[in-house]
């Protein structure tokens, strides 16, 4: 592999992941440089969630090399998980679960604390700051299970911010959010990226709504990475039409552009 690995936060080399008979990742290779913001897109079942899971070692990796934050996943999974914030796609939570929003955000701090550890004053401040950043301070004392889906997403985001990670993995962070919340989230991503020197990987189905700082697009299809390139290269009609197997229209608007399916007629 000819990447200079000192700069790379994530290096995947020919990674294969299988679930039973189904191969979810085929020879996936990917390099993500420090301080970049990467959007992963592709049809349902393309393996996007699996790709994120393989970075943390949450799924069984058959063959291939995974290096995150300069460490081999096989040697130091603990280190990698400690410094990586992961928001899963959908966490089915029992509404009766006896946890407050504060509890859930505080989970992020546990990545840095040994067993039997008590939260310090600084931990508590970090938790409240995280809630403040996401705009859910008023929810801190509410039972988590009874929040709306969008509110639960925001809590999950606050949880990973409280973790103060070096790498963020967000699986469809925009799902279930209302319009201002989507805009807020995109701005928040830009903000924390510039302030905290974070590397961010997010999965999104909406290529119209990308963070401004997004500088790399990874397109996946049927368990393979078919393209990893800049926005200008990836967000083209021919590329996207090929990705989704249907005609896709890209309408330029300001610097971004609206992307939608044209219909098969």
């Amino acid at each position: 592999m000819n990447y200079s690995t000192s700069e790379a936060v994530i290096v995947l080399d020919s990674v294969n992941v299988e679930y039973g008979y189904h191969q979810a990742l085929h020879q996936v290779s990917l390099c993500v440089l420090a301080n970049s913001c990467v959007t992963i897109a592709g049809p349902n079942g393309a393996g996007k969630t699996t790709l994120l899971a393989s970075i943390l070692g949450l799924c069984q990796i058959r063959t291939g090399l995974v290096k995150v934050l300069g460490r081999d996943l096989r040697d130091s999974p603990k280190f990698i998980r400690k410094h990586t914030g992961y928001v899963p796609q959908n966490v089915g939570i029992d509404p009766q679960i006896p946890l407050l929003v504060w509890d859930v955000i505080s989970f992020g701090r546990l990545a840095h604390s040994s067993l039997f550890h008590n939260f310090s004053k600084k931990d508590k401040e970090t938790i409240e700051e995280a809630a403040e950043l996401v705009g859910i301070r008023h929810l801190l004392n509410r039972p988590f299970g009874y929040l709306s889906a969008g509110e639960q997403r925001k809590v999950a985001l606050a949880r990973v911010l409280a973790q103060q990670p070096k790498l963020l993995l967000l699986d469809e962070p925009l799902a279930n959010l209302d319009l201002p919340a989507q805009a807020m989230l995109l701005e928040l991503i830009d903000k924390i990226k510039s302030e905290k020197e974070l590397t961010i990987l997010l999965v999104s189905h909406d290529l119209t709504l990308l963070p401004k700082s997004c500088n790399q697009i990874v397109l996946m299809k049927k368990g393979r990475v078919i393209l990893s390139a800049s926005k200008e290269v990836a967000l083209r009609e021919d590329v996207l039409s090929n990705l989704y197997d249907c005609p896709v229209k890209v309408v330029p608007y300001k610097q971004r552009g609206a992307i939608f399916v044209e219909g098969k007629s």
Partner: protein
């Protein structure tokens, strides 16, 4: 004569308290982890094992542990799978265990009092050793909860999230299952092998109706569990009825009351409503 009566009542009193603490705390863990079916399977395995022990002339407690261990090793890893639907395998295992228990029961030569008392439970006849075992298992559960409180909360929330934070979720999950077997086996002879499952579930389910935080659920479940045991003991002594049955009756009534008065359903909301208490 008076003194003797006093001492066995004293044992029953402490036995009720210990059973209430151990069972309700394990119950909270099993219910919030959404694996109450594991409690069903384990309690029936313990029952079958104990009766098997009586038939073979081996200490029933050891056989109960053995059966629990076998069931734990079968269902634990199965329930570990994300897409596991417990109804079928637990249903099969549960009826298999009950079938085995009745098979062994039929083969006990002579009087079946010991085996029957395992079924209904007899807290009035527990001895020092049993009391000691109940105390040790309850203490283990308490220590586990106190020392790993935060980590347990993450595992109850979501095991994948716990894993992604580097929390030893497997260790916590299996410790919960093992503690569940230990508590069930330790309390079986006093509460009854067929009844103990309700003492596991009822206080936890009631507490979940009444409280919003994990620490409160634990405390309220213990209060309800101990309360049901003591009240059940008192009533059974008073009316000369089987103790285990009375305990279960009381705890079931408490559960129904908690359903009626649950703040989550709108009744008595103000009493239990949370303010600034984290």
């Amino acid at each position: 004569m008076q003194l003797l009566e006093y001492s066995f009542l004293r044992y029953a009193f402490w036995g009720s308290i210990l059973a209430g603490i151990g069972c309700s705390l394990v119950g909270v863990l099993v219910v919030t982890l959404q694996i109450p079916f594991l409690g069903v399977a384990i309690s029936h395995a313990a029952f079958a094992g104990a009766i098997c022990g009586i038939v073979l002339g081996i200490n029933p407690l050891w056989m109960a542990y053995l059966f629990c261990a076998i069931v734990t090793f079968i269902i634990g890893p199965l329930a570990d799978k994300a897409n596991f639907r417990p109804e079928i395998s637990v249903g099969i295992l549960f009826s298999l265990m009950l079938g085995l228990a009745f098979l062994f029961l039929a083969n006990i030569p002579g009087a079946k009092t010991e085996a029957l008392s395992l079924m209904w439970g007899s807290i009035l006849t527990i001895n020092r050793t049993q009391l000691l075992i109940m105390a040790i298992t309850s203490l283990l559960v308490l220590l586990f909860l106190v020392f790993l409180f935060k980590q347990i909360k993450v595992v109850l929330f979501n095991r994948q999230v716990a894993n992604s934070l580097g929390i030893p979720e497997r260790f916590i999950y299996y410790t919960i299952i093992i503690l569940c077997s230990l508590v069930i086996t330790a309390n079986m002879s006093s509460i009854g092998g067929l009844l103990i499952f309700s003492l596991l579930i009822n206080p936890a389910a009631s507490a979940l109706q009444l409280c919003y935080t994990f620490s409160r659920v634990c405390i309220v479940a213990v209060v309800i569990g101990v309360g049901s045991c003591l009240l059940g003991l008192l009533l059974s002594y008073h009316w000369n009825l089987p103790t285990g049955a009375m305990i279960i009756l009381v705890s079931s009534i408490i559960f129904m009351l908690s359903l009626i008065f649950s703040p989550k359903k709108g009744f008595l909301k103000k009493i239990f409503l949370l303010k600034e208490s984290i």
